[in-house]
Symmetry: C2
Subunit: 174 residues, 2 copies
């Protein structure tokens, strides 16, 4: 399944790029979005709680929530009728984004963590242990290490913006 | 090891946030940066090739490269002396970021790929198979699935911007 519309944003849109990373980033929107997705994942799901947790302005949060709904990453849900109040939930695409965000968080823990130590620890409830998210190969399960990845032009690998030079080189190599 | 200075950017800086994800995102800089890191990883390492591949303006690329050097994610290297010419290489922190970017790319491949199919395929040279990056638990090696992650306040988990509400809830739960 693919998310419907790729919205163009005020900044340069990556939606036209022939690159799943660029198009994915375009759907996600901006740096606030991974933090919002993280908060929703962790149960901070109401507007005022998001404001307080992230210190984001009301205007900016409103815009970001709207964009994430438009991208199909989050949805809103009524939790109170009078007056009507919404909370925000991850869609399937949004929940699917969480592991990649955990991988980015693990990178942040290694290279940018506050001097007091990691702000948050993660427990994998399946095995019961503390863990860091690691990125592994879907074929053999090994951790993806330095210099163990080769790229090959895929079916959508046109020489278009986002992969012009790459696609040319990949084509030359085959 | 931790990266040195966290630069404040023109947009809201996340560097003050008590959250490894926010601080990591701040180091990375903006959406162009994952694409630049990807290109360097894939061997597109010269200024003009990056311009052509990404369709980014010269000014913006210059600024982004400078910021990534400042963050300690990339470094420049002389490849020609007369006239002097540089190419750009990932540092250890930069190479360490690649797996997380591959995890984001895999998400993009699932939810935002061009209709022609994935632009790029990845081969894990260790096992020789095509693969998608998946995010797994460092303790048991299983894929991180929906609803299998619990968070606990860590040593750096102050109730400060970025984790105010989360830290309070985590504290209440222990």
């Amino acid at each position: 399944m693919q998310l419907g519309t790729i919205k163009s944003m005020q900044r340069t849109s990556f939606a036209r790029m022939h690159c799943s990373l660029a198009r994915g980033l375009d759907l996600i929107g901006d740096w606030w979005s991974p933090l919002i997705v993280r908060d929703l994942f962790l149960g901070v799901v109401r507007f005022d709680d998001l404001i307080e947790d992230l210190g984001i302005s009301r205007n900016l949060l409103t815009r970001r929530l709207k964009a994430l709904i438009g991208s199909g990453i989050i949805k809103r849900q009524v939790y109170q009728r009078r007056p009507i109040r919404y909370e925000y939930r991850l869609t399937e695409a949004g929940r699917d984004l969480v592991p990649a965000i955990l991988a980015l968080t693990a990178w942040g823990d290694r290279w940018a963590r506050p001097k007091e130590g990691s702000p948050m620890l993660f427990v994998h409830t399946t095995c019961g242990h503390y863990f860091q998210a690691q990125v592994t190969c879907s074929a053999c399960g090994e951790v993806i290490g330095r210099d163990t990845v080769k790229t090959i032009g895929g079916p959508g690998g046109a020489m278009k913006l986002g992969t012009i030079v790459l696609a040319r080189r990949l084509r030359a190599a085959t």
